[in-house]
Amino acid sequence: MTEEIIIAGFGGQGVLSMGKILAYSGIMEGKEVSWMPSYGPEMRGGTANVTVIVSDERVCSPIINAFDTAVILNQQSLDKFESKVKPGGYLLYDPNGITKKPTRTDIHIHTIEGAQLASDMGNSKVFNMIILGAFLKLRPIILDKNVEEGLRHSLPERAHKLIPLNMEAVKVGKDNVK
């Protein structure tokens, strides 16, 4: 099993940390992982993306051009990455702010109202965990208990009290992906 994922959106949406939690969860699942960010002059409001690879084997190239799954959180990222999903792959996006919808017919396209659901939960910070939940519903590559373990390893100790809230957000994501 090798799952090659791009997560892309605005800086500040938690794109990189969602990738990190996914990668740590992969380790807890006993997989090989890599996490490769677009780094540089990124700032709040700018674009940010990260490539995460979760595999049974040693990851060859952490930098890839075609993805099994694209998790898309803004229009620029949709424009950039829709064409880079492998045929038969998955595209998951939050329709909030999307004006030009994806048009491909050879991939699975799903939506998650992440921003809306986070606001319903009364905490905009769990947005990325809702998205992660939606992703894991579509691509069940990691068990929930390992996601929880991944959170424990990627969050600083002082934030561990927020793990139950984050796991609830994962569940909300799983229940609401369309």
Binding site: S34, Y39, G40, C60, P62, I63
Partner: protein, 361 residues
């Protein structure tokens, strides 16, 4: 087994220095390696081991602090990225001349000049062929994973002290910025003053009454002595070449065509090998781990085993290809392929280049 973590290459490099029992890190921030000094500052290793971390006022100051601490027999590291490493070349030439051990990491970005902050491998020449003045060499280690960013700190220090010379960890923005699984080694204790005195009689540890004073310098105005000093350096470098060449071969047993790539390009080329094998091509990968000393003999062996051509894959306009061609010595075809300016080649285009430039129609 040590502690398992998910870390950036830059963070692994920094943590490895603490755990090796390094005495000091002197540096100056620059993208894409600022996480090294950021991580060290955050960890405050002075509390953990007594290791000193200092942000110098410039790269020049940092390398000269390294020169001084190394001369005192301390395990000292610095790091920077391409333009910053240019600034350090004067100090590195002095360090080579004075035979001071140290470790420096270069997390390469695109050039020339300020260039770009994106990954590049265009400082191969600078680090393997000199950069500073005089007939000198630095040991150059090329990590291609976060684990190796960690492991090569210990290896670098071991080699630097074994041969009293600088060991360079030549990385790039991709390896520095990516996160991977890493198994961290156990914490080692720093050497005590007594241990340094006993183990490194050359080190400047203070002069006891009635003993000869020790001098660490790159300067000698006596030409005869300077010639002998240079000859001695070259004998040392020959010994390093004979004993410390390291490389990895992947799918080379029956290979007809071989990619030669290090660092992040080696990761990409490994995928190209996989794609090529799936398409029925007998391709393999030679991954130099030491760029100096270069695995010339490994290329020679491959030619003797029947390899018909090599493609040197680098994020540069063609630097390592010169060493590949020297090793081939005209016997088989050797060409270069690489994207530059911060663009990273894909496994598909690397394989395509092998088909077009080496295998032919």
């Amino acid at each position: 087994m040590g502690e398992l973590k998910l870390m950036k290459g830059n963070e692994a490099l920094a943590e490895a220095a603490i755990r090796y029992g390094a005495d000091a890190y002197f540096g100056y921030p620059i993208t894409p390696q600022s996480e090294v000094i950021e991580y060290l500052s955050e960890q405050n290793p002075y509390e953990r081991t007594g290791m000193v971390v200092l942000q110098a006022e410039s790269e020049l100051a940092a390398i000269n602090m390294v020169y001084a601490a190394g001369a005192a027999g301390k395990r000292v590291m610095t790091s920077s990225s391409s333009p910053g490493v240019c600034l350090k070349q004067e100090g590195l030439a002095y360090i080579a001349g004075a035979e001071v051990p140290c470790v420096f990491a270069d997390v390469v970005r695109g050039g020339p000049g300020l260039g770009t902050i994106q990954p590049s491998q265009a400082d191969y020449f600078q680090n393997t062929k000199g950069g500073g003045n005089g007939d000198y060499r630095n040991i150059v280690l090329a990590p291609s994973s976060v684990q190796e960013m960690c492991d090569f700190v210990a290896l670098g220090f071991d080699l630097a002290f074994k041969y009293r010379m600088a060991a360079c960890i030549l990385s790039d923005g991709a390896i520095g910025q990516m996160m991977e699984k890493v198994i961290l080694p156990e914490q080692k204790a720093r050497m005590t003053e007594e241990e340094i005195k006993a183990k490194y009689p050359w080190a400047l540890t203070g002069r006891a009454r009635g003993t000869q004073h020790r001098v660490i310098t790159s300067l000698d105005l006596d030409s005869a002595k300077m010639e002998e000093h240079n000859r001695a350096l070259q004998r040392k470098y020959k010994e390093v070449e004979a004993n410390e060449t390291r490389y990895e071969m992947i799918n080379c047993e029956d290979a007809e065509y071989v990619f030669v790539a290090y660092g992040s390009s080696a990761r990409i080329a490994q995928k190209s090998v996989q794609l090529g094998r799936e398409a029925g091509l007998k391709v393999g990968l030679l991954r130099p781990i030491t760029l100096w000393p270069y695995p010339t003999k490994a290329i020679d062996d491959l030619i003797k085993k029947g390899v018909k051509g090599f493609l040197s894959v680098e994020l540069s306009c063609g630097q390592m290809i010169e060493d590949v061609r020297l090793a081939c010595n005209g016997r088989v075809k050797a060409e270069h392929f690489g994207r530059v300016g911060g663009i990273i080649h894909t496994p598909e285009e690397v394989l395509e280049a092998m088909k077009k430039q080496i295998i032919g129609e």
